[in-house]
Symmetry: C2
Subunit: 367 residues, 2 copies
Amino acid sequence: MARPSRKKLEAAPSPDSTLGAAPAAAVPAGADHQRLQMADVARLAGVSVATVSRALNGSTEVSLATRERIGELARSLNYSINVSAKNLRLGHNRTVAVVIPFDARSRQHVSDPFFLAMLGSLADALTERGYDMLVSRVDAENLEAAAQAYDTGMAIGVILIGQWRHHDHLNRLAARRVPIVVWGAQLPQQLYCSVGGDNLAGGLAATRHLVEQGCKRIVFMGDPELPEVALRYQGYLQALAQAGLTADAALQLAVPFDANQARAAITRLVEAGAEFDAVFACSDVLAMVSVQTLRALGHSVPAQVAVVGYDDVEWASHADPPLTTVRQPIAAAGIEIVDALLETLGGKQVPARTLAVELIVRASTRA
Amino acid sequence: MARPSRKKLEAAPSPDSTLGAAPAAAVPAGADHQRLQMADVARLAGVSVATVSRALNGSTEVSLATRERIGELARSLNYSINVSAKNLRLGHNRTVAVVIPFDARSRQHVSDPFFLAMLGSLADALTERGYDMLVSRVDAENLEAAAQAYDTGMAIGVILIGQWRHHDHLNRLAARRVPIVVWGAQLPQQLYCSVGGDNLAGGLAATRHLVEQGCKRIVFMGDPELPEVALRYQGYLQALAQAGLTADAALQLAVPFDANQARAAITRLVEAGAEFDAVFACSDVLAMVSVQTLRALGHSVPAQVAVVGYDDVEWASHADPPLTTVRQPIAAAGIEIVDALLETLGGKQVPARTLAVELIVRASTRA
DNA sequence: CTGAAAGCGCTAACAA
DNA sequence: TTGTTAGCGCTTTCAG
């Protein structure tokens, strides 16, 4: 036997108890706090653990009478079954790992409202389906670490919020057969399942809307190194081309999802004397910072500069001005992601899904 | 023996394999995907599992040579130890449950930016200390359910974000000796450990600041049924009293943390012809909605009405106007909460902690 | 209908 | 230094 298991029930005086005059110091109480287990319930009920197990699992093999008796006893004792032991025995598990990449470089970490909203949405979807959610963070430069919870058997699958730059890491995980679903863009030669908004359509819709408002020199703000942003940028370019406008490289602001860098970039642009009449920002935070910075620099929004955001996070409609933005279907996304993961776990090869996005027009673009 | 364990290594033809012409349908592949285990590594290394266990745990009992050999073998096989089994054996566990109350009534759920930021902060603090974070949601009317993860042995302790109305539920949990730390106010006869901002000081500082700006009729917006809000309200009353002002019941807007209800309340107030020159809102979202609603109704902010928020969530400084607000130390809070829980687990009786808050003055109150 | 016993994947006495 | 073995808390086959 390994560690000193708590004494079962023989009332034989344990050697320790003979120490008598032990200091009255508070019992260490151990983290354990004498957790009740099935054997205790069994003893109290005068049956075997097997019977308790069956009763608690509602097996019809055990008579209704004892089943009820045991159920009530367990309840009155406040007993609940040890899930880890059960899982170990059963060889399964209902925990899903949700991983948030932490990017030291661009500093978009867990404080970004979109990511957090996504987390909430996933929590809802998983809870509803009876799964537990284990949340962790990994360095965005080393996404393979996302599989840790899976590798250690803690979780049966992984949901990654954002694919970042390392498509290849994700493919490697998929090649290793880690059940994984990624929120992000669908990329060529993708081995894993991704679920994401329609970024091309989003970029297109936002830019078209600005063009329709008469804007001709539209700033694009976002880091095109990220696949999702790159697609929005494609949409932006297409919309410009369709309108017969040419994209001016000076108006491409390759800023990450960071408020300070966005503010600096806009300020630089204005101070450089660039002319522009609209900003298409790749997140609502970036859009909001743009509005504020522009106003502080004496440009009126939307009269002189129209601003469109992305995501439609909760406060976008409460901002001043209420933000025109591309709504990502966050609640639906959580459900889609979880369902995709569940199918993956079922052994299926799940195709990538692209969710429709919707342009929500508000005051930030209405002159 | 219970379920058909995967065949070990005897190459004896299994009875199934004699079925020969079985349908070539894709193998179910099971969710299991033939996970590698310690016995496999042991066999491949030509040693016993005990040795592998010791080697992988860096025991000096095993010779450096074999330790390294086994380590490399394990790495090359991409083996990682099954944490659940290990925990079961060791009788411990490094998972902490973080519970977010879901309030169907006031609708402040996981989408509230403050709660989500808190979640991020806790993720940081827990990760840093080597703990895993299990996130779940419970009905705010039944906070006792928060202990589920603990009761089932999934988690060693519980962190609850927000105490809501049911102080008594929490006391009951503490009485049951569930290790729990709650983000919220310190209440009389509190059996559990709470960590929270200094709500009284926050309410005081915000209101004083408004008074100093010359405001005399200050709206208070928040649901005083929540202990934290009640304390802010006390601060508000004290500040008014100190300034020789009297609180007007008509200016107390008992709205929950919900944007729509806030908007409705402000609108009603204005339409009722109430006179006021400031709003002290109990969250930044409420403050932002107030600004927007007031402006839409033709009141200028801050010229006619000054607005103070609460929390200082990330975008508060990027709003237009940048929000004067009471900053809650979110990052520090995560650390304090986790440390308090860890001490509780250590068997200590941990006193409640109150964290200093700071008034951040920005343009929303500068005329 | 119920109990005895084996074993999920791992660790740690104890023995060699 | 290494292997043997018991057992963490549970489920389930098999025998009564």
